[in-house]
Amino acid sequence: MKKTFVLGALTVAGLAAGAAQAATVDDVKARGKLNCGVSTGLVGFAAPDANGNWGGFDVEMCRAVAAAVLGDSNAVEFVPTTGKTRFTALASGEVDLLARNTTWTFSRDVDLKFTFVGVNYYDGQGFMVPAELGVSSAKDLDGATVCIQTGTTTELNLADFFRVNGISYEPVPIETNAEAQQQYLAGACDVYTTDASGLAATRATFENPGEHVVLPEIISKEPLGPLVRHGDDNWGDIVRWTLNALITAEELGVTSANVAEMSGGTNNPEINRMLGTEGNLGEQLGLEADWAMKVISAVGNYGESFEKNIGENTPIGLARGLNALWTEGGLIYTPPFR
């Protein structure tokens, strides 16, 4: 374990420079596959099904980029990463893109030198406790044992929250969501804390979800989004505009069902520009003219992907809330395709 760790670190150092110079998009095309870092398993966001096929909200971000660049949403190699290993994986070039419930923070952007291309889920950190404990507020958690995933913003927020409120706790640092769930259900910790979306996804897999409550306090801002390495702006643009295409498609009513028809030409110039029947936006990105058409026919628009994976009709049952389009009172907004 230690050895791979050292090698990993040396690879970061050894490859960082090389990776920054080579064009990632050329590597991906030459390889014929997109290497995409996802979580080790968080139902609704990124988890393999019984046949080993990955699915989820973050997974579809990967598939969308693969569809845009390679024209094939299945040309993705999913690399499971933990909170701890994800940044090394991205910095070393092991993955081209990280889509793993990752919070956009100042230090990750500036100090770790990653480019967050946007936000695909506005989240915040919450707490889950067994209902039988009768706790109704996070401020009642004095002395509790808390399970957290290491290498996350979660552990820093937690320390701040308890210190500011003058209460104490005992952290149980854990590497993956699956282990945390096991510890929490065995009662080795009283509380599980992570992003509220993660809590909902974790609770959905419990035998009796009703026996666990999510406390009302949201103690942080966790804007989650896909990220790439600094230094390859063209690649950053491709990922950014793939995300923007998903969102814009929802805004303009382009869905996986009608995209084929619409790509024959519509009387909305922005749809035409996005789908490549007008202008040369695809060429400017270094992609095919119909890149966005392929993205949307593969994974649907932002709203479709949300509803299919984590929406109110799934076991995870997340409401759009902050993640509704700006036209519907949410924060999801993109710059125009022009």
């Binding site: 374990m1 050292v6 990993g8 970061v12 100090d111 706790y169 009283d190």
Partner: protein, 421 residues
């Protein structure tokens, strides 16, 4: 291919001088006396060059990526909490302090595991040679099962069993709790074991540590007292042939001052009690520590058992027979004749087992134990992104500790070596 020069000159004495030889470059390859040196020098130069190349490459790439080796993050506040702290620490403390907390935790678990692994190993190794078929087969079973399954698996198995089988603290709550404390004073929970903790009601010093140091000083004093007594007994034995009976006297040297000190300082016990979510009071031995400690000891104990068996079997059977013919009982044959000689065979491989324990303790993160790999090499590395710096320090730490352990054990080894007079 040594060339002798003709004798020149007029002095007869030169005739008896050893023949002079001139050195030619080709001799570096052709002369067996130089050849190995030549090749060693070449190898050393190549090695140095490749290290230089690697390091240079590393620094160039770091610079190109806009990274630089800097330890300034060491002074910045860490921002995370640690569940087992042997020194004062909170989330506002620095990354450097978090590393020290980790170091102490590593040393603690390594120290505990070395002791228990040695006990397990010696017992299993001696019993494996027992004439009792069942006992020796049981020990063989222990050795084969434990040393042939990776230690990481053992750590996880033990931890998983602990969390699944032992009750959560909340099971102790209520009028008819599902679980109850052992003798009303110790609680075995899936978060750890809580036992009564000693404290002093009439401490001599305000700082708690000083009181404990005083206790330690008393014990050290008793140790030397008992040793002096033993020496005196040996002297008497050498002079008169009879060894005076001293055990009750020795017991007194150990107990009387110690008990007196305890009475003076008012030794009391604080019992753990369920308060809120957790037990508090007394001493908590955390679940991760127990799992790691137990797994490391039982795993390494299996290796040590084999060392011990090898050491004992290396002693000539004639030694045992000779000792027996002198009328020594089997226990004394083992203690006085076989083991002292066997130790010489046992100690060197024991050193490497101790090193293994220390290094294997870096698997701690698997169960969330906050050792140096988990703090400095885990959370700190991750939150600061300073991978190279943290990993270099980690390597330095494990190297230093390993060298210290082997230096210490080597000193011990030479002290029990066969002394030739």
């Amino acid at each position: 291919m040594v060339k002798y020069q003709g004798v020149t000159g007029i002095h007869m004495t030169t005739l008896t001088d050893p023949p002079k030889e001139t050195f030619r470059l080709s001799m570096l390859i052709n002369d067996t006396r130089y050849r190995s040196l030549t090749f060693q020098a070449i190898a050393a130069i190549i090695l140095a060059l490749s290290f230089w190349y690697l390091l240079n490459n590393l620094f160039q790439n770091l610079a190109a990526a806009g990274l630089n080796i800097s330890y300034s993050f060491f002074g910045e506040s860490a921002g995370y909490d640690i569940n087992q702290r042997l020194i004062e620490y909170d989330s506002q403390s620095s990354h450097g302090r978090a590393a020290v907390v980790g170091i102490l935790n590593t040393l603690l678990v390594a120290f505990l595991a070395c002791i228990t692994a040695t006990i397990f190993g010696v017992v299993a190794g001696v019993l494996r040679l027992s004439n009792n078929w069942l006992v020796s087969k049981l020990m063989a079973f222990y050795v084969e099962i434990f040393r042939n399954i990776p230690v990481l698996i053992w750590i996880i198995i033990i931890f998983t069993i602990m969390t699944a089988v032992l009750p959560a603290p909340r099971a102790f709550r209520g009028d008819e709790p599902a679980a109850s404390m052992l003798f009303g004073s110790a609680a075995f929970t899936n978060r750890g074991v809580y036992i009564p903790g000693p404290w002093f009601s009439r401490p001599l010093f305000d700082v708690a540590v000083l009181n404990w140091l005083l206790v330690l000083a008393f014990l050290v004093g008793s140790f030397f007292g008992a040793r002096a007594l033993g020496r005196w007994a040996t002297k008497v034995q050498e002079a008169t042939g009879d060894r005076p009976v001293t055990w009750y006297f020795s017991l007194g040297i150990w107990l009387v001052p110690f008990l007196a000190l305890m009475v003076i300082m008012g030794l009391s016990w604080e019992y753990p009690a369920l308060k809120g979510f957790n037990f508090s009071g007394g001493i908590k031995i955390g679940g991760p520590l127990i799992a790691l400690w137990f797994a490391l000891s039982i795993y390494t104990g299996a290796f040590i058992a084999e060392n011990v068996r090898a050491g004992i079997q290396a002693i000539n059977k004639g030694q045992t027979e000779a000792a027996a013919s002198l009328g020594l009982r089997p226990g004394r044959v083992m203690n006085l004749v076989v083991l002292p000689q066997a130790l010489r065979v046992i100690i060197p491989p024991l050193i490497s087992q101790y090193l293994n324990i220390t290094k294997n303790s870096s698997l701690a993160i698997a169960v969330g134990y906050a050792d140096i790999t988990a703090t400095l090499g885990g959370i700190t590395l991750n939150q600061t992104g300073r991978a190279i710096e943290c990993v270099l320090l980690l390597m330095l730490f494990y190297l230093t500790i390993s060298l210290l352990i082997s230096a210490f054990m080597n000193v011990y080894n030479s002290s029990i070596k066969l002394k030739e007079r």
